[in-house]
Structure formats: C-alpha cells, structure tokens
Symmetry: D2
Subunit: 338 residues, 4 copies
C-alpha cells in the first residue's frame, strides 16, 4: 500500500498514519519530499481495506500496490497452467479446445444428434445445461437431473467430455457423477459458498465472468476455488454489459491477452452468450481465436427454432462445421491448432 | 410484442412471422402501412424470447410491450404494499423506517452498545451481518451462527427488530429463528435457488439491487420470491457501478421514484454500501429521504477504526444521532415522518 | 508516481527505470523490500504518461499519486470559490441559487411569460437555449441569435441574470453581449478549443459534466478554462449514462459531496436533463439540495406540450412554485437558504 | 412509434393520445385487445420525442420503431458503400486497408522514417496528428500547421494517402490542402457544428465513435455529415469505456458485424487507442480482421520511448511488419486480402 499525504500534512498526522499501518502489520518506508510525504507500506498481508487509511487526518490518497489474489496470479506459475478435462483433453496447451452443444439438454434424441454432429466437426467437449438460471421465474428452468444422464450418455457415445452448470453447492456431489468439468455461471461468479465447495472437488471448474465484473474480481473468484485446493480452473469471458443494446452483451475480446498476462489460468470465450445472436457468433469466435483464446464454448442446436432456451444464439450444425474450417485457417496466425 | 417488418418485406415473410407468433400463442393485429408492416402480438404469455422472432427473414425489429414481471408490478396493487416487520414496524407507510447497526456482529458488547445507541436515536430495526460475502477469500467472513444469537439478544433488549443477510438456501431454516427480516445481498440478487426458497418463507425479505442490475432485473428477482407466495418484499437500492472510482458505487437516487412508479413494493436505500465512505453517508441519506425513500439502512459502529469489516463506511453513534435530526427537518417536505 | 517492480525484478531493470524517471525530471525515493522494490517518483511535473513506465522491463504496476489538475483542486483554494454572476448573484455562498427557464427560447411571449413566473417563485437566473446541440440533424436546432436578444430582454425586465449555451468558440464574442454566464454543454465538455477560448473571457462559465465523464475529467476540463485565467467556473452535474433505460440518465447525486472535497469550485445540479421526465424533476431537485448542491438548473415552460424541445422534462410554472416551497423546507437541514 | 396503453385505460385517454399523434402527423392503427390497447403510429416523420407521448394520461410505454437515421442506414444502400481515399485507395472493398503512422507528427525525419517503413510493410494510408486533443491543458498539443506539411510530404514521397484529425470547423479549409481524409476524434463525435461543416466537404471523413456512444449515436453523427451531402464517411471503432481499468478502453469488436448489418458505411478499427498498450495492439488487430473489419488504424513509431504522445501504444516498425504477416494469414478466413 502507498499512502500519499496531503501537501502540508502535520507531522502528527503522518506519525498517526505510520502507527496505524504498523499496527496492521506493515513495514513502512517513508519518503519525505519538498511538498508531500509518501509512505510505502509493505508486508505479506493480502487482506486489508485501504479505506481505513484513506479516512485518516492528512491523507490524500491510498493506493493498493499488490493484487489481492496470489494463487491465480501469473507470478504463482509463470509457465502457465494446462488443465486436463476427462482423460485426454487439455486446455491451455497448443490445441484450442472447442466445447459445443445445446443451451439446454432437452431429450435423448436432441442431445445425441447434436453430440454426433459437433464431434464430427471437431469439438472435444459437449456442453448442455440441465439446471438453467433464468431471469424470469416463468421461463423454462431445465429438465434437471435426467438432463445430466442424457448428457453423459451422448458424450460417452461420441467420445466427448461433458460440461454442465452447477447452480448451488448442494448440487455438487450429484453432478460429479455425470460431468468432467463443472461450470459456474456468470450470475454465480460471486456465490462464495458455491466457490468454496468447488475448491474441494477433484474435477476442473469452468468459471464464467460476471457481466459487470472486473478482471480482478474474476481472478478473486478463481482464488476462492484455488484457496480450497482445486487449481484446475478455466476462466471464461462471456460478454459484459455496456450501453449498446443491439446485442445482449459486449464480448470483451481484449480480456484474453490481459488475463494471459495477469494470470496463469487458461481463458476461453463464449461467443454465443457473449452476443446472444446466431449471426454474430462466427465473427466473434474467429476474433477470440485470433486474439489468442485457449478455447471456445459454442451453442449448437439441431433445430434452433424449437429450442427450449436460447435458440436465437445457437448455430445450425452446418454453420458450426463451416466455422471450424474458418478457425483452422486462422489458428496458425497465433501458433495454435484447432 | 410488436414486430416491425423491414421496408419491402415479402408477403411470404410476413405470413411466416404471423404463423410463428400464432404458434407461440399470440393474437395478431396487423397494420399494413405504405412503407412498412407492423404486427402487434398480444396475449397472456409472459415468457418468450423476442430474439426468436428478430432473426426471422424480413424482420426489422422486435419490441417487447409488456413487462416480464406481473406480481411485482404497480398494476398488481395500485395502492402500494406496506410490509410489516416483527410485530409493529411497517415499511411503506407514513413513517420512514431507519435500520441501523454494524456491518458485522463482532461480539456481545459491541452489538449491545450499538443497539442501545441507535435505538435511542430513533432506529427501529437492528442490522448486523453474521455471514459475510467478501470478494477475497482471505477477508473476514463473519462470526457465523453465534452472531445471529447476539443480534437477536441485542434487538430484543432494545426493542428493535432484527435483519441479517442469508447467503444460500441451506441457511434459511436456521436464520428464521433469529431474524424478523431476511436480507438478500447484491451479489445474490440473481441466485434463483435462494430466491425460490425465500418465496416459501413467512417473513419479509429485504432484496438488494445488484451493482449492475437494471430496475427491471431487480423487479424480476422480486417476482421470483413473490411467485412462491411471499409478497412481503422490500427493495433496496445500494449503489450501482459506474466509471467514477472515487466512491465504491454510485447511489442511484432516481431509482426511488422510478421504482415507486413501476412497482407497489417499498423501496429503501443503503447509503453506507452505496458510497463506501463515512463522510458521504449523511448527504446521501438526506438525499434519499428527500427523493421519497421508504426507509434507510445505515451502518453505525461504536468503534469504526477497529471494525472487522467496512469500518470506513460506518458512522460514529454521535454522527448518526445528528443525521436523524437532519432527517426530521427534511421529512415534512415529502409528507413523511422519521 | 509510484512504480511497483515485479517480485524478483533484476537490479538492471530497476536501474533502468530509475534512469528513465530521472530523465523525466523526477526525484526518486527507493524502497527495497524483502520481496519487492517500490520506487517513489516525486516532482513538480503534472504532465506525464504512466504507461511509458508501465511497459518497461520488470515493472509490475505504476500509480499516479498526484491529481493531474492543480488550479481546480481544493488545495488551491481551501476556503472555496464564490462565483458572482451579473451584479449580485453569488454561487457557492449561503444561498442555493435556482436557475430556471425553458430548454429553448422560442419567442418573445414565451420567454417573457416564463421569466415572470420563475422570478416570482424565487429563481435568480434565467436559462434558455438559442443554439441547441441535438443528436439528430433533423431536430429543432434553436432559433439562434435572435433567441439571445429575447433572453436578455426577458431577464432584464424581470431582474434576472441570463445563462445560455455556447456551442463553439466562434460564438463567444457575440454571446458575451447577451449573457451573464456562458454554458458549456455535456457533449462539449472535452471540446478543448472552446474551453481554451473561454479561459480568456471575463464572465463565468457553467461547465456541464459529460454523460460518461469521470469527476477527474470534469475537473481537468475546468482546468483548461482556469489555465487561461478565468477562475469563475461553476460545475454542473446533469446525469451520467448507466444501464437502466427507464430514465434518460442517472443523476449522480454523490458527485456533489465528492466534488466539494476535491475542488473549490461550486457545484450545481440539473435534474431536468438528469432525468428527462417532468415527474422525476422535483424528487431529484430535493435530493440535490439535501446532498449539499450550491444551485439548481431547472427547466420550466408555460406550455410544455407545445415546447419545441424537451417539453417532457419541463415543469409547469405551478409545479415549479410548489417545488420552491419544498426546497425551502429542506434548506435548513444543510445550513443553507433558497 | 408504438404506444402501449395501460390496462384499463379510459377511452377518453386513448382518444386523447390518438389526437395528439395525429396532430404530430402520424397515421394511426389501433389494436384493441382484451386487456390492453396498442396504437401504431406510422408516417414519414423522423424527428419526434417519444417522451411527449409517454407522459400522457393512460400511457404505459412508448416504443420507437424506426431508426432516427436514414442516409446512414443499410436500407439506403443495401449493397454497401466503398469510399475512395486519394486516387486509388478504396475502403469497403475486398482489400482490408491498413492506415499506420505515429500518434503525432513530430519532425520531418520522424514522419519520413515511419512513412517509409509502414509503406514497405503494406500500409496504404499514413496517419499522424498535427492538432492533438488532450485531456490535460498541460500535455503536448501537437506541432500544428507545420505538422500537416510534413505529413503531406512524407505521404507523397512514399506513395501513401494522408489522414489527420480536425479539431473544429475553423480548421477545415486549411486542412483540405494537406490531407486525403479528415478524421473526427472520439471526443468530437457529437460536435455538431463541426459535423455539419464536414457535410459540405468533397473529401472523405473518418468518424471515430465516442467512448460511451451507442452505435445508434455514431450513426446519427454520420447522418449529420451525410445530410450535408458528403456520403463518404468511414466509421471507426476505437474502444468504449467499461469498468475494467487494466486497459484504457474496451475495444468493441462485435460492433463490426453489428454496424455492417445496420449501415452501409465501411467500418475500421483502431486497436492502438482501443487498448492503449503496445503489447495488446497485435491481438486486437488480428481479432478485428477476423471479425470482418474493413480497415485498421495502427500507431507505429520509430522510437516509441521518445514519442511526444502515446508512445506506449505505438508499435515498433518490426512488430508492425510481423503483424502484417499475421493479418495475411487470417484474411482468407473472411474472404478478404490485406
């Protein structure tokens, strides 16, 4: 922490701040300038509230100089983390991993048909929701437990891994029987009781960024999971809220290289939720790959017009197949393969 | 829903849209203009995705014309809702109800001292957290169950009601033994499993607006609770995220009259979390009252410098006493009393 | 500036940063901790780009420790500035000054009628646009020069001062013949050529905050005017853009006490543009006063339904009269009078 | 415009709204449902304020159904516009046009050296500022008129076109002698007096999106220029303001396909201002191309550490050369060439 004293702050105020900082466990470096005194407070502490100092007499400004996360920081593992999903899918390595499937698992025929086509096009992980967080209580809420069974069967049949969303901590034990990776939705990014329990799990977690979360907050949420011992966290950019209402969200493509600098965790992108419209998914999937994403999460439906949720953002299987071809052209520009 | 067709859209496209809308259960009113055809789709449906129509051939734009919430709407109870907390505190009536207390319950002496002083100054409800949602896993997370016992004792002793935050649905049964109103924090505003369970509870719920939630989303979250049968919901504005970083959040004072027009539910304001700094709490509390708020939620601590959480935004008891006097001057300007 | 080096940064990198900072004219204080080195760079410089240092080898983070503005800072005039408009209206003193009038001057009868009523209700300054910045080229753009003549006549007849918006620097000399204060609109807050010329003018400037400007950016724009020698700047909060679309803008009431801490310049509030709806103007005007504003800018029209611009946010004269009464109840709570 | 009446609105209120709409020049289509009446108001009018109707008795909601711009709309030229810059550079055709150069023209040697290298790497247009809008009055403000002479000389020598920023309408005639395209900066996107004058100019305009402007507002600003008769407008996405502070701005890559759907005007992207950091420019340039941008605007400096402005976001010539190679790999994925 750096504490900037006001110009002309009294020596008594400065001593008071120093005492307070030392009481909090910091070592103090004092720089007395011609006009202003600056105090550097260093130490191993990661949890403190800079506002406590900001309100003291004579203080002009307080700046935090260390990130509030440790385990999620790039410093912790400069070489980067490769997360293994299922037996042999690795996220964060040379291959850009494509996860595809419907928004919701609806029935056996639907999920099997979609799994077959996305597997044929090159996807490695099958996505599909069984429990759906919906902003209206009157919307379709997913088919529940049975959806997980169907997802698992389809994934096994077509040699795919499976990922699905967990909505609260009571669902974790049950879900572990069916999925290879547990997804935390954007609205749950700061559901700390859920994150804490996921820290005890032996399977990877796909953590989606909240729609108005900063990157620091995303990394702090990853820290909650890692602090419990589960280091297999895959981050997911899925669009933030901005002023333009044409699309549902604004996909923050620049978050990809920013996160790769700040953290060692892999970062994947969901252009389906990130745009909310089928015709914008392919351009944004290509953009994400070109910017260096470690993976993509794409909604595909065999009959989007009849989808029970988010059909508007689901690709037809043919468009998905075409997109995979476009991605294969781009991948060498970033030294990757799809 | 209103569907605006593109200029020159083919009759076949128009018929296709009409068929699709009728298939969704709507009655259609068609307006054929010189340049554009406009379709009005009316019916009792509240759950549909306008994007499904937006993507059809020939469609220019689709506009939702009914709010996606019903029970939370002002139409549902034009006269407004008065929520009774405990035996005799009413929110939404002529009295502006002040809820005060520490961010976290720390120990018996602390909560008793604060309860005594806020009761003396005119507060009616004692607030205090036992379970704290914190963005860092390394921050103080509350003293837990015992905090609820201490809160209840202090409230009873000083003739106050008690409110405290519930973090997930598994905590509800236990909390009902101790509090008169259950608080849902901003980060949990869209924790639907929690909201759904609160719909079955016989005590009022204080629902805080998420930091980037729209007012419509807040009312949809209230709808989740109400759809379960619990109509005693008090809404709380506690600051939204904007670009200015000087304060933690930007208190959206205008949300007070807007919500009062859109909904029948009472709306209270939390200027402590809404600003994050003690010296900004009183101006914003006065502003909230002057704009017509039904209540205030204010953090008060007997020794803020040593508070285990959010001391920086807690008022000293003396400043709280002074603030209550200022509020009593303002109240007649809005036809209320404090 | 404080430069935080990465953990384990090489001594060579540290020296390189020190040399670069010294080359920029800073004095350097070095704090070598067990894990990290922190460099404090102090000096009189106000113009530098922290990113130049941020990109150097071994640098973790760079923090600016001095505000980039000087003349607009509270330090420059701790006692606060009182701006005199016309002969005897003072903004920033004990009286909360109300400026009222139509969005646009339309004709002699209109502006005279409105001036008469707002003067009778207690307004001190008459507002009215002659040149209107409109987001559509097809909207009414104001009646121009003649509008200024009418505004001046009405102001003089009813013993009011006059304020009107200047849209570019070529209009300044002409406008000085008619107005007592020149208004810079939100869209022009960063029109630097205009601000620079206003620095040479002998009349006060009413500077509106841009809809997504930070407070620091607002103060930097004030600094442009002050750097030219004109210290009579009145700041105006008029709403910022946020995610909620119910109202045009979100009035940032908390900006009032924040600006009063950071700057010595008076701060007034425009609840008409800040909400865009007549029925929300009075609650927000009351809130602004209760939070400590030095003045209010309120649109009043004698026939809002026929107003050529922004009729929807204009008060009827009777409602304005009523609002003034409400404000007089509240003023003593903040030690002011209206 | 569609007017949704409240449930149970009185027939008198409905008639009143109809009369008002007809008085505004609209034809009315009335849909009387079981619960609600909906009025469709159609006509050629583009300028009206929906709030005027919103405030009438019995009105629930008012929705605009036509875009407020016409000339900038895709409907106006479904085939798309190709803008010719100078003699032979075309933006909006099969070639993705790269514009490169320093933030500011500093001296003859600098601009000549940069022009030589970017031309050799494949850029077609030379960028360089002579007048710089800076948020601080103490920052370098450009070398002025002489900078334009140097820019023109360097462009001619290396067979490039030239683009530079115009800060107000008084500069237009002078600038036309030196540049092939006039750039309007983000802060001036709503400087209507400037836009209006640019509508009379015979050279193309590069119009940058404001940092918190919606796409509709950007298109309305283009409409201002086009309404004056100059249809050669190139739109530029250069980053919007969001909550994350790691980068200066958030480049809204999805704006590319959105604008291509809504408008016929070409859209280019500026990843230098859009990120503010050199190491993020290449990923975002690649992403913009992969998403379908018609051109790129990239800052390149021969000695970024000594640049007088924005050195931190300027590429070294070698990195620019490398980036052009990466772009050539990606271009076929979108059916373009670089």
């Amino acid at each position: 922490m750096v504490v900037v004293m006001q110009e002309g702050a009294a020596e008594e105020s400065i001593q008071n701040v120093i005492n307070r900082l030392m009481g909090m466990g910091f070592d103090i470096h004092r720089s007395t300038g011609a006009r202003q005194t600056v105090l550097g407070a260093v130490g191993a502490k990661v949890d403190f509230d800079t506002r406590d100092i900001e309100l003291l007499e004579g203080v002009d400004e307080v700046l935090r100089i260390t990130a509030p996360y440790k385990l999620a920081s790039r410093h912790f593992r400069p070489e980067g983390t490769v997360v293994t999903v299922g037996r042999d899918v690795t996220i964060g390595g040379p291959e850009v991993v494509v996860m595809a499937g419907p928004c919701s698992v609806e029935n056996a025929a639907q999920i099997d048909s979609i799994a077959a086509s996305v597997a044929a096009s090159g996807a490695r992980i099958l996505r599909g929701g069984a429990f759906k967080p919906r902003s209206s209580p009157y919307s379709f809420q997913g088919i529940g437990h049975h959806g997980l069974e169907l997802l698992r069967q389809a994934a096994d049949k077509h040699n795919l891994c499976a990922v699905s969303e967990v909505m609260d901590q009571t669902q974790i034990p049950m879900m572990l029987d069916y999925v290879d990776m547990l997804q935390v939705g954007a609205r749950n990014m700061q559901n700390y009781n859920l994150l804490r329990e996921l820290g005890k799990v032996a399977k990877p977690v796909l953590l989606k960024r909240g729609i108005s979360a900063t990157i620091e907050e995303l990394l702090l949420s990853a820290e909650y999971i890692m602090a419990g011992g589960n280091y297999n966290v895959v981050l997911c950019e899925r669009g933030i809220r901005t002023f333009d209402s044409y699309l549902r969200n604004t996909l923050d493509i620049a978050a990809i290289p920013v996160i790769q600098k700040l953290s060692h965790l892999p970062i994947v992108v969901d252009p389906s939720h990130g745009t909310g419209r089928r015709d914008k998914v392919a351009p944004m999937a290509r953009a994400a790959l070109a910017a260096g994403a470690d993976g993509l999460l794409i909604e595909v439906h065999n009959d989007p017009d009849k989808a029970l949720s988010d059909g508007a953002q689901s690709l037809f299987p043919e468009r998905f197949e075409q997109l995979m071809k476009e991605l294969r052209i781009i991948a060498p520009a970033v030294g990757r393969k799809v």
